[in-house]
Structure formats: C-alpha cells, structure tokens
C-alpha cells in the first residue's frame, strides 16, 4: 500500500500534466482554425488554376513538355515528404513516414535509387536515420509556410527532373479530410499528369473554340506547368499543417481525458488509504485503552 503522501503527490503530478495537455489542445485547435482558413483561401486559386491548365492542355495535346514526358529509363526517384516539426500529435507523423519508407522500399526493389527531400523536422530525422540520400531538408518551417517555400522545394525537383537527375518525383503529405481523419497521401508529382476538367467544363458550348492565347499555347503551357507543381507542393504544405493541428487537437483531447480518469482512480485510492490509516490508528487507541482497563 502506497503511503498517503505518495498518492497525494501523484495526484498533483497528473493534475499538472492535465493542465499542459489541455493548454496544448486549445492552442492546437486555435491554430487549426487558422490553417483551415488558409486552405479555404487557397482553394479558389487552386481550382481556377486546375481549370485553366486542363483547358489549355486539351488544346495542345501531343506537344511534349519536359515535365510531362516520362523518362524511358527509370533509375532515380525523389520523394518529397512533408511532416510536422513537433511530435505529440498521435500517429500522424508516424503514418506519413511509414508511407514514405514503404514507397522508398518499393522503388528500391525495382532497382531505383531513392533520395528524400523533407519539409518538417520529424520526417527529416526519420529519413536521415533510414540511411536514404538526403536531397534537401527544411526543418522548423512548418510554422511559417508560404508560397515561397513551396516554390523553392518545387524548383529544386523541377530542375532535377529537367536535367534528368530524377526520373520520378513523389509527394507525400498528410491530407486533411476531416477533424478525425488525416490519412497520408502519395502523389506523383513528376512526370506531371495534367488535370482532367472534371468539374464544370467551361460553359456556353462553343466558347472555347475561339479562345485567344497570348503568347502561343506551347509557351503558355511551359509557363503554367512548373507553377502547377508549386501549387501542388503548396497544397501539400497547407494540408499537412492543418492535419498536424487536427491530429494534435485529438491526441491532446485524449490525453486530457486519460488524465481525468487517472485522477479519479487515484483520488479513490487516496481516500481508501486515508480510511485505512484512520482505522488502524483507531484500533491502536482502542487496543491501548483495553489494555489499561484490563
């Protein structure tokens, strides 16, 4: 039986942990709102971009752009992995890293050399430990992501693809589906697949026959494609950031609940211990009185 003082200290300790997890929960959910609204604001841009690109690529079908062309010989593969900088967000980072390593293994099995480019400290550390080549890494940037960051990551892989250093580029990030769901997503970044115009192909029937292009279609496409890669990377960054906060909110909520349960159990133990000690003291007193009387 633990002493009364031990139990008391344990209760205080768990209470303090609870304070921290609760604070982290609130901070994460406030940050989540910010991240979500950024995704919201990015959406019109991405949607329009996809639409314009789909329209244009339908026009210039057949003309090969270096970013669209598949390399015949596939030897090198780059994986861009986006994770968070900090832990304490459940299995979120673990899932992404697991997915990344799985993909890396698949590629190695078919004889390709894999190198990683990482955004986020967790992914960087894991990739480093796994022994794969590290292309670039951006640690401690998830708190301040902007388009420039996506741009420089994308620029690097685009350059590598164009100069035939890489034959495939993949993007792995935590997709933000909902508060409770942030599955890791694998996306083939290069060779680029032009988006299909799924949603509402441009209205008013024959309108797109008389589209004016300035400069010529091929040149426009050459401008649009690299930026589309950047748009996709930026999307990965935004999604991961929102997912991270959602995962942390959930994890910390869980932790706070567990703390509550523990405190209840410990308080019960504390009371029992207290009663037990009172009872034994009483027995002592009664026993002593009996002895005197007897």
């Amino acid at each position: 039986m633990p002493s009364l003082k031990d139990v008391k200290m344990k209760i205080v300790g768990v209470g303090k942990t609870k304070q921290i997890t609760k604070a982290m929960n609130m901070v994460a959910s406030a940050k989540l709102r910010g991240a979500q609204s950024r995704i919201e604001r990015f959406r019109p841009y991405a949607a329009k971009y996809r639409q314009v690109l789909a329209e244009l690529s339908r026009k210039v079908e057949g003309s090969a752009h270096p970013l669209l062309a598949e390399h015949e010989e596939k030897k090198n593969c780059a994986i861009v992995m986006v994770t968070s900088d900090r832990g304490l967000c459940g299995s979120f980072n673990g899932n992404i890293i697991g997915q990344g390593l799985k993909l890396a293994k698949e590629k190695t099995d078919v004889g390709m050399t894999v190198s990683f480019a990482c955004v986020g400290r967790k992914g960087r550390d894991a990739a480093r430990k796994s022994g794969y080549d590290m292309l670039t890494s951006y640690g401690d940037r998830m708190g301040s992501i902007d388009f420039a960051l996506a741009s420089s990551v994308a620029q690097e892989v685009i350059h590598g693809y164009e100069t035939l250093v890489y034959d495939e580029v993949w993007l792995i990030y935590g997709e933000f589906v909902s508060m409770g769901q942030q599955p890791p997503r694998c996306l083939c970044l290069l060779p680029l697949k032009t988006p299909e115009a799924e949603e509402e192909p441009m209205k008013s029937g024959g309108a797109h026959c008389e589209y004016l292009y300035e400069p010529k279609e091929e040149k426009l496409l050459a401008e649009l494609l690299p930026r589309y890669v950047k748009v996709q990377v930026y999307r990965g960054l935004l999604d991961t950031s929102a997912s991270e906060h959602a995962a942390r909110t959930a994890a910390m909520d869980n932790a706070t609940r567990n703390c509550n349960e523990m405190i209840t159990a410990l308080t019960l133990l504390y009371n029992k211990t207290r009663q037990a000690s009172i009872t034994s003291e009483l027995i002592d007193i009664v026993g002593g009185a009996e002895a005197l009387n007897g």
Binding site: A46, S204, L212
Partner: protein
C-alpha cells in the same frame, strides 16, 4: 455599357473581387485592355501594375506576374502575389530595392543575378504604384 466580374486571386487570398467597367493588364507581349463582353482569352502577365475601373474610379493593383483568364465576362487573374495600391508596404519595397541593388552590384552568379533583377523590378513597380496613390 455593362461590367465584367474581376477576380484577382493569389495562393493566400482573393485580393480583388469587383464589377469592373474596364481592366488594363501588363501582358508579356504588351499591355492590353479588357472591356465587358471580351472574347475568351488566356494570357501570361509580367510584373507590373494592373488597373481597373469601378464606378468611374480607377484602382491600381500590383501584380508579380501570373496569368489572366477571360471567359464568359468573368476575368480571373492568377498571381503569386498581388497587392492593392493602398496595401503596399512602401518601406519594405524600399528595403527590397536596396537589397536587390546591392546584390546586383556584387554579381557573383548568373542565377543570383536574374533573381535579384526580378526582385528589383518588383520593388520598383511596387514603389511606383505606391507613389501614385
């Protein structure tokens, strides 16, 4: 004369959403104007100032290059960054200009130079637009 719906969007937000009477854009092959009922058009834009008229008043927006899409009387400008004249941070642009000039003066690498030149152009354009308000 009618109006056309103008949207200027960047990855971070929608900068302008207005019913414009006229828009003038810095296209890569020269400035061009867009009036309501313009034929469908897709054009690349260079760094520059875009102006549009709402209720007879001209407004200016800084554009750091991008694309303009006109279709069905809706004009969408996709830019990596865009700022209304009143939102331009003149001090920051000034600092950026000085930095770019210093870098150009140092001139160590060709890649660096093109980037610095683009930065310089952006800064000068921002200052121009800010100066006009």
């Amino acid at each position: 004369m009618g109006t056309l719906q103008l949207e200027v969007v960047t990855p971070d937000k929608t900068v302008v959403s207005a019913e414009a009477e006229m828009v003038v854009c810095p296209g890569v092959e020269g400035e061009f104007g867009v009036l309501p009922q313009h034929v469908s058009l897709l054009s690349a834009l260079k760094i520059g100032s875009m102006s549009y008229r709402v209720n007879g008043k001209d407004e200016k927006v800084f554009i750091s290059g991008g694309f303009a899409d006109v279709n069905n009387n809706v004009m969408t400008v996709l830019a990596e960054s865009a700022e209304q004249a009143s939102d331009i941070d003149a001090a920051r642009a000034q600092a950026a200009r000085d930095r770019a000039e210093r870098r150009l003066a140092a001139r160590d690498e060709a890649v660096e130079a093109t980037r610095a030149e683009a930065a310089l152009q952006r800064a000068i354009m921002r200052l121009n637009i800010a100066g006009l308000r």
